[in-house]
Each structure stands twice: as C-alpha cells, then as structure tokens.
Amino acid sequence: MTVVDLPARTHPDERTIADGNDQRKRRRRREYGLFALLVAPNLLVIAVFAYWPIIYNAFLSLTDWNMIAARPKFVGLANYGRTLTDPAFHKTLWITVVFTGLIVVGSLVIGLALAFLFNLPLKGRGAVRTIAFAPHILSGAAVATIWAFIFDPGYGLMRALIEPFGAEPPDWMNNSDWALPGLVIVYLWKNVGFAALIYLAGLQSLPKELDEAAAIDGASTWTRFRSIKLPLLAPITFFLLITTVIGTFQAFDVIAVMTGGGPGDATTTLSWSIYNEGFQAFNAGRAATLSIIMFVILLVVTTVQARVMERRVHYR
C-alpha cells in the first residue's frame, strides 16, 4: 500500500484574512497546539503498545527471566544461540513454513478459481460470494470450535462425508499426520473468501479490450487466462501473498482451540511457541527471542513488498 502524498489543505483562515505578522504567528501556534492535542492520544498508544514492545523484546531476549524474580538476569546472546541451534526450533520453523505455504497456495489458487466463478453471469452469484466471504469476519475461536466437532471421528460431519467412500475417518486433531492438514482446511475455509473477493474486484477492473482483441485473434480461453489475465492480476496476487503470509504467521486462535500445538509438537508454529514459552512456560527470555525472530522475518517480507510496490509504481 503506497501512501499517496498529497499536500495538506490549509485552513482558509490564513488565506482569507490579511493580518499582521503577530496575529499570523499566534494563529500558527494555535494550529500547532490543536494538531498536537488531536494526535497525541493516538501517538502515545502507538508508541507504548506498538513500538516500545520491539525495544522491550530486544532487551528481554538478552535475559533469562521467569517473570517472578525481581529482575531479569542478563545472559547476552545465549537465547539466540540456544534457539537457533535447537532442533525443536527448526521443527517449529519448518511447520510454520509448511502451514503458511499450504495456506498461501491454497488461498491464491482457490480464491482465483472462485473469483472466476463469481465473475460468470450466473444467477445467485452475488449471494454465494457473500456466503463464501462471511467466515472471514467470524470469530476464529468459534469457527475452530465448529470444525472441532465436524472433525470428531465419532459423530462429526466429516465422518458422514468420508464413510460413503469406504474409508475410515481419521481422528483428525489427535493424529499427528492429520492435525496440520486439518488446520489448513479450517483456515482456508475461513479465509479463502477474502482472496476471492479481492481477486474478483481485480478481475472486474481489468481492461476488457485486451482480452477481446485476443479472443478475436483466436487465442484460447486458457491462453487468455495465462498470458493476459494472470499477468494483469499480478499486483493483486502479490498483495494477497504478502497479507496471507503475515496473517498466517500469526495464526493463533484456530490452533489454540483445535490442537494447542499438538498432538506432540505436530502443529507447534512460531506463533504458538511464542505463546507457549511466554504464557505457559513463563520463559520471558525465550519468548522474546522468538518474537524478535518473527518480527525480523515479517519485516523482511514487508520490506520486499514495499520495494516491489515502489518499482511497480515507478515503471507504470
């Protein structure tokens, strides 16, 4: 998202009334004062609860602290050394990457397919689009609870769908092979409507001439999709890619309700292990270290986004 930098509008006080230097100065000071008054509460909250945490995390990550002892013990970079060489951390990172990868690919592919479907001249497509988008605004904890029941191997809806094919329904959430795919299904169900909505808006804003010209020249539907629509949708794909990565990295409610990082560590993502280290093991140093690692990873992602967006704007 680029910030369109428009000049501020001056209040016409200054233009309409010709007055002495003194009065203008006083007016300017009043304007400064009002600005400070209006902006201060927001800036204060942002400073304390968005920026300070980064500094605080950086400090805590250099300490060993159980949050009970009077003060944290300084241990230098020991937390980083231990975390980065810990096989459990490698597994956590791998699970996070797999989870994020599956959800990114799933949302983009299914979202694009749904957008094409909703763009066809079908009756009721608007209603279905709304239905598909609705889960996006529902509580993740509640959605996860519904799916916990759907996945119940005894009396869940999934059993009714799987059994007719002669297969045994898995115990999704208690089976380390099925828990992660189960979470991915839930997460996609909840969020794919968002990708579909964005893609649809993109499709509807594409220039029609190019596609029509290609159709007249005899290009097949597939060629038109691959060589015209897909490249034109690239900025939207890129936007969705970034927002999905950032969102999925921080996925928490669905995991907390459905698996609690388990069984074993089968669904322990980076976001879950931050919570686990901080609020279950009360290991502030480790939790802060993991937080800084997540911050750096996502900072790289957003920086890449900013760079690419900038280039796109320049070259257009």
Partner: protein, 270 residues
C-alpha cells in the same frame, strides 16, 4: 448450455461448502442430545433450547456477553475517535515534521501484533491493569490503518466546502463535526464496522490479560467451555459457539456492503 449447467452445479457446490458447517452448527445447537450422539446423523433437529440453558449453566455466558459488548463498544468508540482526530489533523492542520509523524503512525502497521504480546502483557502488569477493562481495551485503541483510510478519504473531499465553513467562522472541531464527518459517512461506517468485528473476535489478548471467569470475553469463554466439556457435550458447546457468532453474523448481514467496500478499498489502493 451444458457448460452453464456445470457452472451452476459448481456454484451450488461452493455455497454448500460454506453453508454446510454453519448449518451443522445451527442444527446441533438446537438438537436434543440423543440426536447429536446417533449415527447416521440426524439432519433435521427436534427443536429444543436445552443446549443453551446447559451452556449457561456450564459457564457464565451472560457475563462473557456483557464483557464482549463493553469491550467492543468502548474499544471501537475510542479507536475510531483516535482515527478520525488523527486523520483530520494530518489532512487539515500544519505541524513541523508532519510527514515523519505520519510515517510513524503508519509504521505501526509493520509491527505484527503477535510480537507485542509479551511486552504488552508486562507493561499492562506494571500499570496494574491485568484482569481489568482498561487492560483489555487501552492497548488496542491506537489506530494506524483506520487513520490511513480516513485521511485518504478526507483528502478527496472538495476544499470549497471546508473553506466555506471556515469563512462562516467555524473552528476546526466544528468543521470536522458539521462538515467533514457528515460527508464521510460511508467511510466512517466502514471503519466502525471493521473495527467492531475485530474487537469482538479478538482472542489472544483477552486470553492472556484476563484470569478470572468474570473478566473473560465470549471467544475466550468458548475455549474454556470446550476444554471443560470435552467430547461429551457438543450440543452445549455448539450453543455457546452460536452465541459468539450470532451478533457478528447479524452485523455482517446488515453492513455487508460497508465491510466488503472497506476491505477491497484497502487492497486495491496498494
């Protein structure tokens, strides 16, 4: 004709995928327990309110509901006021280093919320706000994205109108209240609705900052209900789940246009 028929089948299939789980929730919440634990499943419930009274007995849902409502209403009000005032200042007032300050506000969007959990918990503890409404609400009322949306919108308003207000002798706050806000109603509604949905659904922060049942919100209460009731009481749990979802589903049905508008605007501006 044949392709059209296939397209309709796919469309209906998609609707079923997204409605199915919601129907499963709704029907289970109103089923009698014997109906829930039978196989093959009963597709149509013998209506009963029993699950709701069981959920009410298992956990203080009225209290959860009250807490969620308080946090959503006050939290949304404060956050939107913050966004509007900040946006107005950045759009209409002069200040030294304004540009840098604006980037400082926007930069907050680059800080992933999950990363701030532990430090914010410690800050709130220092302030003595653990397990209080202040602790639940205040850390979330800083506004970056909504401020951005509002400011961009203010900049599209015709200058003539605000100029005219100033010539008539209206001060800044009066101009904001009487001229700028009425002209920004759709954007304001969008920002309010999106913020309210976020506040209501918020899960991890209420989970860590509260520690007694009397301060829990609905989504957190639901997790506790599920962990306590286990696999033997899906009816009770689904009734609780419905209580969490129903208000947002209602808001979605009423304000769908604004939510969708706001979300696509945020995306396509990029």
């Amino acid at each position: 004709m044949k392709t059209r028929a296939i397209q309709y089948v796919v469309l209906i299939g998609v609707a079923a995928v997204f409605l199915g789980p919601l129907y499963w929730l709704l029907s289970t919440a109103f089923k009698q327990p014997t109906q829930i634990y039978q196989w093959p499943p009963a597709w149509w419930p013998h209506l009963t309110w029993e699950n709701f009274s069981l959920a009410w007995k298992a956990a203080p849902f009225d209290r959860f509901f009250l807490n969620s409502t308080i946090i959503t209403v006050i939290g949304t009000a404060l956050k939107v006021v913050n966004a509007v005032l900040t946006a107005y200042a950045f759009a209409y007032l002069r200040f030294p280093f304004k540009k840098i300050l604006f980037f400082a506000v926007l930069g907050a969007m680059m800080v992933p919320g999950h990363v701030t959990l532990l430090p914010n918990y410690l800050t709130v503890a220092t302030l003595g706000w653990i397990n209080t409404y202040a602790g639940l609400i205040i850390p979330g009322i800083g506004s970056a994205f909504a401020t951005f949306l509002m400011r961009q919108h203010f900049l599209t308003l015709p200058t003539e109108v605000t100029d005219a207000a100033a010539v008539d002798g209206a001060g800044h706050l009066r101009t904001l209240w009487r001229v700028v806000l009425p002209m920004s109603r759709p954007m304001l509604i969008t920002v309010v609705v999106i913020t309210a949905v976020e506040e209501w659904n918020n899960f991890v922060w209420p989970l860590i900052v509260t520690n007694t049942a009397s301060m829990r919100t609905l989504p957190v209460g639901l997790l506790i209900l599920k962990d306590e009731e286990g696999l033997a009481a899906w009816g009770t749990i689904m009734a609780g789940t419905l209580l969490v979802l129903a208000p947002m589903l209602l808001i979605f049905l009423i304000a769908q246009r604004y939510i969708v508008g706001g979300i696509t605007a945020g995306a396509l501006k990029g």
